[in-house]
């Protein structure tokens, strides 16, 4: 039995029935980000230097490239989910809100793609010296 009034349903108020998916994806990405971000931060802090040659040598290892790609993908998705909620909470007016969400979605995909391209270039030895 639904407690929602027909009027409320027509006006599109109430749950969009997409909350669980968002919630679950946020938990899964945060769970994955615990080891990924800790690995990244510890790696950065323990590299012998942050010089170009050192970084190229580090990023040329398959394990580094794999973890960096995972980090960017999962962090990007987690970030998108989080920023979306903030926008939904604080950007009022459906036009402005939709536009902001579209821009933020595009920006996250662009960032992730650019980062993956950069990592692959180094991993495949295609980066200029």
């Amino acid at each position: 039995m639904s407690l929602r009034s027909p009027l409320g349903r027509v006006l599109g108020q109430g749950a969009a029935r997409a909350g669980v998916r968002h919630w679950w994806q946020q938990r899964l990405t945060s769970l994955a980000l615990v080891p990924l971000t800790v690995w990244f931060v510890v790696s950065l802090l323990t590299l012998p230097s942050l010089g170009h040659a050192t970084l190229i040598a580090w990023m040329s290892q398959s394990s580094t490239a794999l973890l960096l790609i995972l980090l960017v993908l999962v962090a990007g998705w987690h970030s998108q989910l989080g920023v979306r909620v903030v926008v939904e909470d604080y950007v009022h007016g459906s036009g402005a809100r939709t536009l902001t969400l579209v821009v933020i979605g595009f920006a996250h995909v662009l960032l992730a793609a650019a980062a993956i391209l950069a990592v692959l270039k180094v991993a495949f030895g295609a980066a200029p010296p």
């Binding site: 960017v72 990007g76 200029p128």
Partner: protein, 131 residues
């Protein structure tokens, strides 16, 4: 804009409440880390662009204002990591009693402060070498 009551309305809560403070801090640090993602991608692209592009990017990335941003990112990362773990524990249904969540709020602050100091020490005193 629906006229039904919506959450959250920052102005109607008492800011001194630790529940609100830890929650809003998690959100702000998360947003800061989202901006940090920009920096990470810029850095990766600079590495992939070769020695010259990396040197050019490092002039920006090693500048004093950038270091201020790293400090903010270290604070944000440590807090968001530990506060996020607290949320994951909550999601299993544990630690939700008032006394428990009050205790874990302080634990989050203490542990993340320790992590921040550890990282700050490593970055600024034990010498992470920038080119």
């Amino acid at each position: 804009m629906p006229t039904r009551p919506l959450s959250p309305h920052l102005s109607v809560y008492r800011m001194s409440r630790y529940t609100l403070a830890t929650s809003i801090a998690n959100r702000f640090t998360g947003l800061a880390l989202s901006l940090g993602l920009l920096l990470l991608v810029y850095w990766l692209m600079a590495v992939a662009g070769g020695r010259v592009s990396y040197a050019r990017a490092m002039r920006v990335l090693a500048s004093p204002p950038a270091k201020l941003i790293y400090a903010a990112l270290i604070v944000s990362f440590c807090y968001h990591l530990v506060a996020g773990l607290r949320h994951l524990v909550w999601d299993t249904g544990h630690g939700l009693e008032r006394a428990q969540s009050q205790r874990s709020a302080w634990l989050v602050v203490a542990v993340s402060l320790m992590l921040m100091l550890l990282m700050a020490y490593r970055v600024w005193f034990a010498g992470v070498h920038t080119p």
